[in-house]
């Protein structure tokens, strides 16, 4: 039966699923060593990339929407009005990853993507520039507002993939870092 490593905001969950004893239709989950009984009932029809369910964890209710992102292993979970980004891996693969010393997430991010669709108003950096965290890199006009796209970390600009006055779609590559 499956065992997963789930990472949320740098907190790790070791989750082991198994069928509960008896034909109860419930599942036994071990979450970081703690056992609980889990039930889940689908809500409505399953849509591609998204499922909705009523989940009961030891009879504690939670209505959740789980949505798969474009990146494999990344999901977002809508619960109590808020959306929580989640990374999920098979336990064994996560162990291998850790042995190899690779970390999850933003540490290896070298591409700045457009967080919204809009028009490029200004490009404030050029290839070779050393940039500081929080520095404005690009200004995009969207919904009549000027939005400054800032550096998430210190780094060096490798290349620029946009031009002033051109429109960009959400997720388009803007700037590449070394």
């Amino acid at each position: 039966m499956p065992r997963y490593t789930v990472t949320i905001d740098e907190h790790e969950f070791d989750i082991h699923l198994d069928f509960a004893t008896g034909n109860s239709g419930k599942l036994q989950a071990t979450v970081n060593g703690r056992n609980c009984l889990v039930e889940s009932y689908p809500l409505g029809t399953r849509q591609s990339g998204e499922s909705r369910m009523l989940m009961l964890v030891d009879n504690h209710t939670a209505e959740v929407d789980v949505r798969n992102s474009e990146t494999y292993g990344e999901k977002s979970v809508l619960i109590s009005g808020i959306e929580i980004p989640v990374t999920i891996e098979d336990y064994s693969l996560a162990q291998m990853r850790k042995t190899a010393g690779t970390t999850l997430g933003h540490a290896v991010e070298t591409t700045l993507k457009a967080p919204m669709p809009g028009m490029v108003l200004h490009i404030k950096v050029s290839p070779g520039d050393k940039i500081k965290k929080g520095e404005t890199l690009v200004v995009i006009e969207a919904m009549k507002m000027e939005n400054s796209i800032k550096a998430k970390a210190d780094g060096t600009v490798k290349s620029i993939h946009i031009e002033t006055g051109r429109s960009v779609e959400k997720g388009d590559r803007l700037v590449e870092f070394i």
Binding site: E39, R46, G81, I82, E83
Partner: protein, 512 residues
């Protein structure tokens, strides 16, 4: 002369168009929607009795095209035009055009809009009406040295504002002299692109002001009333995100003084209709005139919740030439109301707009909850317009009940497909300073300098971890439960039962 209006064209979209259509329907007035390409099936179109296409998706090619709106009004034989907020609502030329074409413009007279819409002229009128104003001056673009001198004299930070501004557009805070030129340039260019008018002026930037505004209502018979205050200090990028009434710091004495000041400028402007006089209130309780908004405000529902009035119906009655049906003494405050603007934005990414289709949308309900939305499930939040999804308005017998109710309603709200500001609101409402009512317009930048609004919640995180495990388990095994086949008995089963049965079946057959 009283003219009963039979049909109103709503020159707007989104939640405010829906809001106005609702008032029309209750009054037995027929409503006419206008829509752009992007809004063909928008909720406001569904909520109106008639609908007319007015152009392409960008608002400059549809909702801002006066000819097209006038044409739709004529074609539908509407007698009046309600402009809502934004778009043409504070456009004096459009107001005059309506009047010239024999249409009733539901709003103040064009001359009033012209004077009050120009922040420089409005300031002068406030001074004439003996309202206190923040020190400030106009900027001559050909010689900005005088403005710089003035800024140095009153001391930094100063605020550069567009004369035609609104909604934080064309506004910049300048912390030091060396930023002056760049801020001036970007404020002016933003103002020019948003309003077609690049004139700007500067004002002393108060360090810890509250933004408190007074709702006014004036008929054509010389009755000028105020409907108490709205506290709108919780702002980001000078845009309001949480509003409430009454203000947690308001005293009966200050309310009387500010209300009187609002009525004074309304009288001076011979104001007609609903409007809002905005003030900055300093820590010591002194207040300064900011501007007059000559339209219905986004946050008008909080006033409706505590006064029991319907401001859109009042606007229509005033436009019909009726006298206000109540006097200042009849205006009371019942309980406490809070409005939370739910935007399709990512608060953790500096409130970047998040466009897309609402894959799930279920608003909260129950006692004391009102949701004014321009969307339903599967609605699209287009890139072309303001990314507000809805206004969640709650009422409580006092402020604490209203806050608890707001938290409850936010928990109930389910929106997926776009990022929203729901989590942001939950975080802010729980902040000790918000609970204590101890905040200024700087609250968000002071308390959340890194734009981090999603604190880690161990209980929710654990549930999310379990849910994602279940989802992965189910989808990896390609078990579709209840998908498509309405006749399947398994649809009503727990997926675990289904998994269990399939597993048993596999074992029984001896296959993998």
């Amino acid at each position: 002369m009283i003219k009963q209006i039979q049909k109103i064209l709503i020159a707007n979209r989104g939640e405010i168009a829906v809001r106005i259509a609702r008032a029309c329907r209750e009054l037995g007035i027929r409503s006419v929607a206008v829509y752009s390409d992007a809004d063909k099936t928008a909720y406001h179109v569904r909520m109106c009795d008639e609908a007319y296409h007015i152009g392409e998706s960008p608002s400059a090619k549809s909702y801002l095209v006066q000819d097209n709106i006038i044409r739709a009004a004529k074609a539908s034989k509407a007698e009046a035009v309600h402009p809502g907020y934004g778009f043409l609502s504070e456009n004096a030329i459009f107001a005059k055009r309506c009047t010239d074409e024999g249409l009733i413009f539901i709003g103040p007279r064009p001359e009033t809009i012209t004077v009050l819409g120009d922040k420089i002229e409005a300031r002068a009128m406030a001074v004439a009406a003996r309202l206190p104003v923040v020190p400030g001056t106009t900027i001559d673009e050909k010689d900005i040295s005088k403005a710089k001198e003035f800024a140095v004299k009153i001391g930094f930070p100063v605020l550069i504002k567009a004369a035609a501004g609104g909604g934080g557009k064309g506004m910049r805070v300048v912390d030091a002299l060396d930023q002056f030129d760049e801020s001036l340039k970007s404020a002016s260019s933003e103002a020019k692109s948003a309003f077609g008018d690049g004139r700007v002026f500067i004002e002393k930037y108060l360090l810890q002001p509250r933004h408190i505004e007074i709702q006014i209502l004036c008929d054509t018979h010389g009755n000028y009333l105020h409907l108490n205050e709205r506290e709108c200090s919780i702002q980001r990028r000078h845009q309001k995100v949480i509003e409430e009434s009454p203000s947690p710091v308001m005293t009966e004495e200050l309310r009387h003084k500010m209300g009187q000041a609002a009525v004074d400028i309304a009288k001076r402007a011979k104001y007609v209709g609903a409007g809002t006089v905005e003030f900055l209130v300093d820590k010591d309780g002194s207040f300064y005139f900011l501007e007059v908004n000559t339209r219905l405000q986004v946050e008008h529902p909080v006033t409706e919740m505590i006064t029991g009035l319907d401001l859109v119906k009042e606007q229509i009655a005033i436009a019909e030439g009726k006298k206000l049906g109540f006097a200042q003494n009849d205006v009371t405050i019942n309980g406490h109301a809070i409005e939370l603007r739910i935007y399709a934005e990512d608060p953790d990414e500096g409130f970047a707009p998040s466009t897309g289709v609402l894959k799930n949308y279920r608003p909260p309900a129950g006692p004391g909850v009102r949701v004014d939305a321009g969307v339903v499930i599967f609605s699209e939040i287009p890139i072309f317009y303001d990314p507000m999804i809805a206004k969640l308005v709650v009422w409580g017998k006092n402020r604490l009940e209203a806050i608890a109710r707001a938290q409850r309603a936010l928990d109930e709200y389910r929106i997926s497909g776009v990022k929203t500001t729901i989590g942001f609101h939950k975080t802010v409402l729980a902040h000790p300073r918000f609970l204590a009512g101890d905040f200024s317009t700087r609250f968000l930048s002071e308390e959340y300098p890194d734009n981090r609004y999603s604190p880690y919640d161990a209980d929710l995180a654990e549930k999310a971890a379990i849910a994602s495990s279940l989802d992965k388990f189910l989808s990896d095994r390609r078990i579709s439960v209840g998908a498509g086949n309405g006749h399947s008995k398994e649809q009503s089963l727990s997926p675990w039962t289904a998994v269990h049965r399939k597993n048993s079946l596999k074992q029984f057959r001896g296959s993998r």
